[in-house]
Symmetry: D2
Subunit: 140 residues, 4 copies
Amino acid sequence: MTLKMDREDLTAFLASHFPQVADDFAIEAVKPFEIAVRLHVGDKNLRPGGTVSGPSMFSLADVCMYLAVLAMIGPEALAVTTNCSIDFMRKPRAGADLIGTGRVLKLGKALAVGDVMIHSDGMDPPVARAGLTYSIPPRR
Amino acid sequence: MTLKMDREDLTAFLASHFPQVADDFAIEAVKPFEIAVRLHVGDKNLRPGGTVSGPSMFSLADVCMYLAVLAMIGPEALAVTTNCSIDFMRKPRAGADLIGTGRVLKLGKALAVGDVMIHSDGMDPPVARAGLTYSIPPRR
Amino acid sequence: MTLKMDREDLTAFLASHFPQVADDFAIEAVKPFEIAVRLHVGDKNLRPGGTVSGPSMFSLADVCMYLAVLAMIGPEALAVTTNCSIDFMRKPRAGADLIGTGRVLKLGKALAVGDVMIHSDGMDPPVARAGLTYSIPPRR
Amino acid sequence: MTLKMDREDLTAFLASHFPQVADDFAIEAVKPFEIAVRLHVGDKNLRPGGTVSGPSMFSLADVCMYLAVLAMIGPEALAVTTNCSIDFMRKPRAGADLIGTGRVLKLGKALAVGDVMIHSDGMDPPVARAGLTYSIPPRR
C-alpha cells in the first residue's frame, strides 16, 4: 500500500482541522504503516518537578495513531479513537521534547489497531507505550 | 477506613500542587473509596463539531483516580499513574461539563487500582470509562 | 430494549457452539445489559498455592461479555473480542468458584463495550476487573 | 544486564512450577529483555471454525512476559501479573502454532512492563498484541 497523505498533507490537515493543537506537534517522518511525531514540550505540558504531564503523553500517542491511519486512508475518513491503553514507565526528561513512533498493525474496513512508543528526545529507554484502536466509519 | 483528606483538603492540594490545571476541575463529592469530579469544559477542551477532546477525558479520569487515592492515603504520598486503559463510547454533549465518578477497587501498599465512569453533565449513557493503576512509592 | 436470548437460550447456545468449555460455566442471571456467570473452578484452573490462573479469569470475563452482548443482539451475530484490558487485584480464594458480573455500557451497530467485575464466590472485594470491546459484524 | 536464567533454566522452572501447562509451551529463544515462546496449538485451544481461543492467546502473552521477567531477575521472585491489555487483530491460522515474542521495556524494583506480539507460525501479520505489567514483590 502507498501513502494517501504525505508529511506535508498531514501537516496541512492538522493545521486546518485541529488549529488549537496543531502548533504543539511536528510530523518528523511518515511511511506506510509508520509515523514519527514530535511534541514540542512547553510550560503547559509540564508538571511539578519538571516532568511532562500524563495527558500530554496521551495526546501524543493519540495524534500519532490518528495521523498514521489518515496517511493510509486519506483525509475524508472520520476515524475516532475507541480505546487506548497506555503504560507510563519512566519520568520524561525535563526540557526535552517527546517523540512518538507509531505503527499501524491492522488496517481493517471498520477498525484500525496500532501501538506507539514514546521517548524523551535523546534518551534511550522509552517513557511510555500505548496500544490504540480506531473506529473507521463506513464510506458514503 | 476514613478519609485522610476531605473535599476542601483535596481542592487546596490541587490548587497548590497543580496550579496549571486546578481551575479546570471541581471536586463535587468525596467519600471513602469514591469520588466525583467535574471538568469545566471550555474552548481549549473542544474539538471540531463541538465535542470534547480525548486528552480532556483522559485528564479527568486521571485526576479522579489520583484524588480518590490521595483522599485515602493523604497528601504526603507521591502516587504516579502507571497504566490507564480508556474506552471512548459516545460523543460528549456540546456545551456540557463532564462528570467523572471514580472508585478505588484496591488500595494496596504498592499499587492502587480503580475505575472511572465519565458522563456528560445531564446525559444518562456514559461517554467513556477507564481503568487505572497507580504506583504508591514506599514511605520514607 | 428486551432480551433476544434468555438464560436457557444462552445456556443452550454455549453448549452447542462451545462444547469444549460449556461445562465450565453456568449463567446465574441475565437481564437487559447485565449478566452474572459462574466459573466452576476445578483442578485445571488452579495454580500453585491454590490460586486461580490468570487465563481462567480472562476466559470468565470474555464469556460474560460475549453472552451479555448475545442476549441483546441474538444468536445470529458473530461478535468477536477486539480488546480486553484486565486488572488482577487480589488472589482468588482457594476452593471457591468465581462469579463474573458484566455490564454492556454501549451497544452500537459495529461495536459493543462493557466491563466485568470478578469476585471469588462469597468474598467481598473483587479479584479482577476488565473492560472489553466486541466487534459486531454487519448483518447479511 | 545478563540473563539470570537461560532457556534450559526457564524450561525446567516451567516444568516444575507449572506442570499443568508446561507441555503447552516451548521456549524458542531468550536473550536479555527479549523472549520467543511457542504455543503448541491442540484441540483444547481451538474454537469453531478452526481458530485459536482468546484465552489461549492471553495465556501465551502472559507466559511470554512472565518468563522474560524471570530470565532477568531469577527464579526466587514471585512476580504476578497486575494488568494485561490485549488487542485481537486477526483470526489465527487453523492448524498452526502461535509464536509470542516479548520485550521487557521496563524492569523496575517493584514493577516490570513489557509487550508481546503474537503471530501464527509462518504468517506475517500479527494476530494479537498485548501490553502487560508485573508486580515484583520485595526481596526478603
